[in-house]
Symmetry: C2
DNA sequence: CCTTCGATTGAGCGCGTGCTCAATGTAGGG
DNA sequence: CCCTACATTGAGCACGCGCTCAATCGAAGG
């Protein structure tokens, strides 16, 4: 089927968006990368819709990778905390920030990001709930706790990426662990020492 | 002195930026509002520099208003917590988010916002330190606490403004109080008796 | 008065970018 | 072999927007 080219365009868009963020990518970048003519992109997509779909693809893939279904809740939490401030995650968070910002004025992006955000919250929420059930930590209200952890996480990521105000990766990571301990109790602290057995 | 017109342009830019954010305002909007020709704006400014200066003006004024020098630390904290999620503050936070985003690619904005952010942190920091000295609450590391509170605050504001993920103003306010209690101890939250919603 | 010179104006330029559309390619049915 | 229908192409269009620059204004000095 000829939708080879269609998916080629979508994949190229997702890859570029993942690498450079949503703001920097142009239609011509996508068609060049996909090896097709400019017209074909507009035959299959509107740019705002393609851009939104590409961003959602890239982010969903990342979210899925982060919360690997096989891992135990403490391992998932550990992965989440560790992944937050590594430099190879910069492009990802930058994408998140730019997409969020675009969603303020772009309806397609708003729709796509709404699903993404929903998904992320529910992943964190179920992780927290499962961990609480398993006795890994205590968490009275998983949804509220997920919202708080994500809010704090977003704030810290913003500081690290923009430098407004300046905050080192190590400092941000320490703050996030500090907060996780507060939310989930001392048993949940994965960083200082693996005391749990 | 002819710099009447210059300051008229700057004031018009600051007012527009305050009302509509940095992303939506155009050079022609500013010259129209200031009642001058398009050429005069370019005679006195480069757009990126004017936009950055206008944003800094608007934000600095707001920061100063928030931390009125006469108020006691607990009053200042209450004002900060209360001001976070009123609807008339939406435009302000939207401006903050857009300016932060722009700073990623615009050097002028990055410089201006760096000073702004620095200022905000130091205001919160001294408020926390003064309150701790006065026995209003306990705070071992005012700078770190200020960074954490602001990070959490930024994250919540982002959620409320973008709806990604959805979060009510009331929920956000409750979370912020929750966090303040975590940072400063129970003594810091006058409304904490029935704060949970 | 005239001259000079900075302040001021706005039509128009340059450029980036999403998108159009007539032209061309190509595969399948008759 | 033609015909039809869809895939594909890319030069060029439309539009927004920051910025230029020749022209004009106006006040101060002589």
């Amino acid at each position: 089927m000829s939708s080879d080219r269609r998916t080629a365009i979508l994949d190229a868009a997702a890859a570029l968006v993942r690498e450079q963020g949503v703001a920097a990518v142009r239609t011509r970048d996508v068609t060049t990368r996909a090896g097709v003519g400019i017209g074909l992109l507009n035959h299959y997509f509107r740019w705002s819709a393609l851009r939104a779909e590409a961003a959602a693809l890239a982010l969903d893939a990342e979210i899925d990778a982060l919360f690997a279904s096989g891992a135990s809740p403490p391992d998932q939490l550990q992965a989440f905390l560790a992944r937050a401030f590594t430099d190879d995650a910069d492009a990802l968070w930058r994408l998140w920030i730019e997409a969020t910002d675009l969603a303020l004025t772009d309806d397609d992006m708003a729709r796509a990001m709404s699903a993404c955000a929903q998904r992320l919250v529910s992943r964190v929420e179920t992780m927290l709930a499962l961990g609480a059930d398993a006795g890994d930590w205590t968490c009275a209200d998983p949804h509220a706790a997920a919202m708080r952890i994500l809010a704090f996480h977003d704030g810290l990521v913003g500081f690290v990426l923009t430098g407004l105000p300046q905050l080192s990766r190590a400092g941000a990571a320490a703050h996030l662990r500090h907060f996780a301990r507060f939310e989930l109790g001392p048993a949940a602290d994965p960083g200082s020492n693996q005391a749990r057995t």
